[in-house]
Each structure stands twice: as structure tokens, then as C-alpha cells.
């Protein structure tokens, strides 16, 4: 049924569709990374395709096929609400190569692209907020790459109560005069202000109880 979509894509883009295949009822088209955004937008806007329902975006890592073929398969799944057909769109990207973001085409692309960046390290050009999503900020490496050993350990993360980088994308806290930590100052390079107990340990602050001992 979604063969129609493949034919439509071939008719519209011709040479730009590098390969099409249908395996066990899944229809797939492969495009170059440069055409990724254009083909995706066409899939959404063309009345014959009408792929307005975003399904999923993920990647597969094939390190052994480098350098002939780029390492990552970026796979997009979309579906049409009205026509009920589905298609799998694929592109092949290298490790250092960025690919255009689809988050403006389908807003579901936002988090799934962040996840692909988090797990595979593929950069999305023009993504509004490309942070790690499942892992934490200080995580080293990209866990779903094949060259990431499953038993690899990670370095210990330095103490932080709330780091500026982990904050939400809408900037540092401009208000809240009752807060314990002055974020504006800290972002400006002021001394680390830590929780009272840690400050005592690090000698930044005197313990309150030492007052009685000094009397003696």
C-alpha cells in the first residue's frame, strides 16, 4: 500500500532517492543527508503522502562499513493519519557530519533527536536545544555506539547541587531573591558557593559549633 509513497518519491526526486526497498511489508527509502530535510518536508506536505503523524526517529551504528559508507543509519518513521500508510526514511551520516533537524517539521523530532544525539553523538544542525536527555551532562562517550564497551565505567562527577548547564534552556534564574545561591554572581565567575555542610568540609566556612571551643 505504501508502495505508492515510494513511487511518488521516485517521481518527485528521481536521482535523489538513492535506494528503495520493501522487506516484510516495510517500505523504505534512502536519501543523502543533504536532502533529508527536503524529502521529509515533502512527505508531510504532499497531499498524496500526507505523512502528518510522526512516529519515531532513531539510529543504527555500523562502524565496520566505514570508510566506504558513512557509519550511522539515521532512520525516520512516519505515518499518514488519513491514508494510514507508513514509510521508513533513511539517511547515512558520518560521525563528524551534521544533519538538518526535523524538529521544525514534526515537533516530535525534538526529543527523539536529542536522544539520538545523546546515544550516538550525531549532531543536528539547527536543533533548538541539543542537550543530552537520558544521560547526564558529564557523561563521557556515546553509549549506543558499537565501540562503547558495555562494561565501561564513567568518571565520578564533581559535586554539584544544580549546575548552570543542567538548567532549563530559558536561562539562569533572574528572580527568586530568597534562594541560597546567587546564580547571577556565580554565572559571572564568582566563587563557588556550596551547601553549608560541604563548605565546612572544604574550609570555606567556619562551623558554628566551633564557637564554644574557641572560648576555652
Amino acid at each position: 500500500m505504501s508502495q505508492l509513497v515510494l513511487e511518488r518519491l521516485r517521481a518527485r526526486f528521481g536521482e535523489k532517492i538513492l535506494q528503495t526497498s520493501s522487506f516484510r511489508g516495510d517500505d523504505e527509502a534512502i536519501v543523502a543527508p543533504a536532502d533529508w530535510l527536503e524529502v521529509a518536508t515533502f512527505l508531510r506536505d504532499d497531499p498524496e503522502c500526507a505523512m502528518n503523524h510522526f512516529i519515531d526517529l532513531t539510529a543504527v551504528d555500523y562502524p565496520e562499513r566505514e570508510p566506504e559508507t558513512p557509519r550511522f543509519d539515521l532512520v525516520l518513521f512516519v505515518r499518514s493519519l488519513v491514508k494510514k500508510h507508513r514509510i521508513r526514511l533513511k539517511t547515512r551520516v558520518r560521525e563528524d557530519q551534521g544533519v538538518a533537524t526535523l524538529s521544525q517539521v514534526w515537533s516530535g523530532g525534538d526529543w527523539t533527536e536529542r536522544e539520538v544525539y545523546d546515544m550516538f553523538g550525531i549532531k543536528f544542525d539547527g536543533h533548538p536545544d541539543l542537550r543530552r536527555i537520558l544521560m547526564y551532562e558529564e557523561f563521557k562517550g556515546y553509549p549506543l555506539r558499537k565501540d562503547y564497551p558495555i562494561n565501561k565505567t564513567q568518571p565520578l562527577v564533581e559535586y554539584r547541587d544544580v549546575g548552570p548547564s543542567k538548567l532549563a534552556p530559558f536561562g539562569g534564574d533572574m528572580g527568586n531573591p530568597f534562594g541560597r545561591i546567587d546564580w547571577l554572581q556565580r554565572l559571572g565567575g564568582a566563587n563557588r558557593q556550596v551547601s553549608p555542610a560541604i563548605a565546612v568540609q572544604q574550609g570555606q566556612k567556619k562551623t558554628l559549633s566551633s564557637g564554644t571551643e574557641e572560648k576555652n
Binding site: F23, R24, G25, D26, N52, H53, F54, I55, D56, T58, V60, D61, V75, F77, L81, K84, R88, W106, S107, G108, D110, W111, T112, E115, M119, R132, I133, L134, M135, Y136, P143, L144, Y148, I150, V162, L167, A168, P169, F170, D173, M174, G175, N176, P177
Partner: protein, 404 residues
Amino acid sequence: MEPIEEYEDENSLELPAEPMRLNMGPSHPAMHGTIRMVLDLDGEIIRNVDVQPGYLHRGFEKSCERGTWSQVYPYADRLNYVSPMLNNVGFSLAVEKLLGIEVPERCQVYRVILGELSRITDHLTCNGAMAMELGAFTPFLWMIKVRDWIWDILEAETGARMTHSFGRIGGMAKPPRPQLKDDIRAILPQVERVLTESEALLIRNRIFIDRVANVGKLSQKDALSLGITGPMLRATGLEVDVRKDNPYSGYETYDFEIPVGHQGDTYDRFMVRLEEVRQSCRILQQAIDRLADDGPINVSDPRVILPEKEAVYHTIEATIAHFKIVMEGVKPPAGEVYSYTEGGNGELGFFIVSDGSGTPYRVRCRPPSFINLKAAEVFLRGEMIADIVPAFGSVNMIGGECDR
């Protein structure tokens, strides 16, 4: 004391009006333990919200890449742990699609039965927990009581209350017990009763309705663009259900309806889930009448199904076949397929890539919770801070599936 005359013009006083940054979760009872939300508040109005999942990440997809295909089942159980059987069935169907085999009809009916039981537990948990977070404790207890009776059936059937690991490639671990039909016939009136009773307590309750109606509205266009599926999408009024659109396991032969909402608010999501429990009961009624008392439960394919235990002990061929399947695993042909089923929260998809060996090359789970959760950033903007609890509860975010 300062003289009061100094403050004679109250309008000249400036109240602090900066937005306030509030951190909600991950250790917050309404965040289900695993979600952090950073809120930008203007008084009680949410101006901006950043939802941060990931606190329950266990590396599901990475772990799958080092065992055999059958060893994925225990991990799949722990994705959506309030309806683990749906994950088992979903993964089975994915590998079977790659292998190009189809299970016998008895097994399909059996999978429908177990899956619908799981769907009932899923929706009862979500609705019960949502009501409890709004202070209605009694419906929660009633729904959890029935859920536990259903889990008793599943425990008798599979041996485990939650983490069944009961699916197999090309069938199920065991044929159904003879008492299964009677157990389900006994439980269905109870489910119906608790639904009616909870409805009487909740949907005629002014406090509950005020907290959920017109809260957390999601438009159809937003929902589609975000990739929302399942009860959340149906609450916006779109009749989308994988069981109807792309039927699997013989769902096209069952008589059931898809409940839809009107405007995609929290109330609609609540009601869609309640009605879906009724529809699941309808499917169960038809399925238990259809379940054959005997017949094969597994495909008769020696490449994927373990030989009979009796034969393993007494013949060398069966011993070798057993050894090969256990040690090397089932070997699907090289290729990639995407198989999708209707899970508790929406489309549960598995995109699996095989290189022809007994170990998965890549198992991608399309997690409905994760993709639905993104909608919270959209529909919470502009709401009051107290609305987070019911609206987020109606997303039915399951940490195991969202963070994998």
C-alpha cells in the same frame, strides 16, 4: 514602629514580580519518582516548563545487544511494568515478522487474552493513581484491588506477578491452564463493578471534575506533530488504534469500538481509559469463547522452538537442537523490520536489526511514554501549578519505558 503614614499610597509599593524558578521532582510523589520538571512560574501560572527524563535509564537497548534474541524478554518485561505482557507480545511479533512466521490461532487468541488483561491493569493503574493524586483514595484502592486480582490470574498463568517473561519467539512459554476461562469469567463482572462504582464516585464529583476538565488541553494538530499515540491521541478525538488500523493477532475479527474524546483535556484522557477497559472486557468475552481447549500453542518450526523435553533426554538430535537454540540462539535472517502493536500508552514499536547471527544487532523500542511525555511541555504551559499533578498523571508516564 515606623509611622504608618509613610505607606499612605499603597499603589506606589512595588511587589516583587520576577518569575520564580521551581524545581519539581525527581523525588516528588506526583512525578512517579523519575521525572524532573524545571518550572518558570509567574505567581501560580506556569510560564515555561522543561521536562527532564532519564533518571531510570538502564541501557535497555545496549543490554539487548549482547544476549540472544530470547534473552530480550526479561528486559522487555521491565519496560512498561504495569502491562508487561503487552511488551512480551510486542517483541515476539517483531521477531516473528523478521523470521516470517505466524503463530497458530490458539496462540493468537491466548496472546489477545493476556494482552487485554494487561491493558486493563494498565488503565486501572493510571486512572486510580490519577484519582489518588487528586485526593480520591477510595477509587484508587478499588481499582488496585481488581488489578491485583487480575495479576493473580496472570501469576497463576505465568508464575510471576509482574515480570512474566512469558513470551517466546514463535509462541508462548506454556499453553493456557484449563481454569483460565473460568477465572476470567469470574473477574470480568468484578472489573465492570469497580468501574461503575469508581465512576459514581468520580465523574459526578464536582471537585474532581473541576480539577480535570479543561486542564492540559492538547490540539489534534499538536498531538499528531508530536507523535502522540494511544489514549492520549484518542482523547483529542482522532480514531487511531493500531488494533483497528493495522490489525495483528487477529484483532480484526473481534467486535470492539474505539472510544474517543472531544478536546484532548485531562478529563477526556481519563474517560477514554475508563471506556477502553470496558472494550477490553468485550474483547476478553469473545476471546475466551474462541480459545480452543487443545491444539498447538507454538509454531512447529525446529529453528525457533525448543524440542520436547522428553525427546531432549532420549535422542541425540533433540539434544543438539536444544543446545543450539539455547547456546547460539534463534537466528533470524539478516534485515531490519519495524513491528508495532497497541501498548498500554500507545504504539509500542520494536525496530529490530539482525545481522543473521543469534544476537540482536540493534533493538530499538519506540517508547510511547517517552514520546507522549514531550506533550507535557506543550500542554502545561499557561496552566496553574496545581494542574501539573492531574495533567501529568493522565500522560501515564511509566519510568521503565520512558527512560529505558
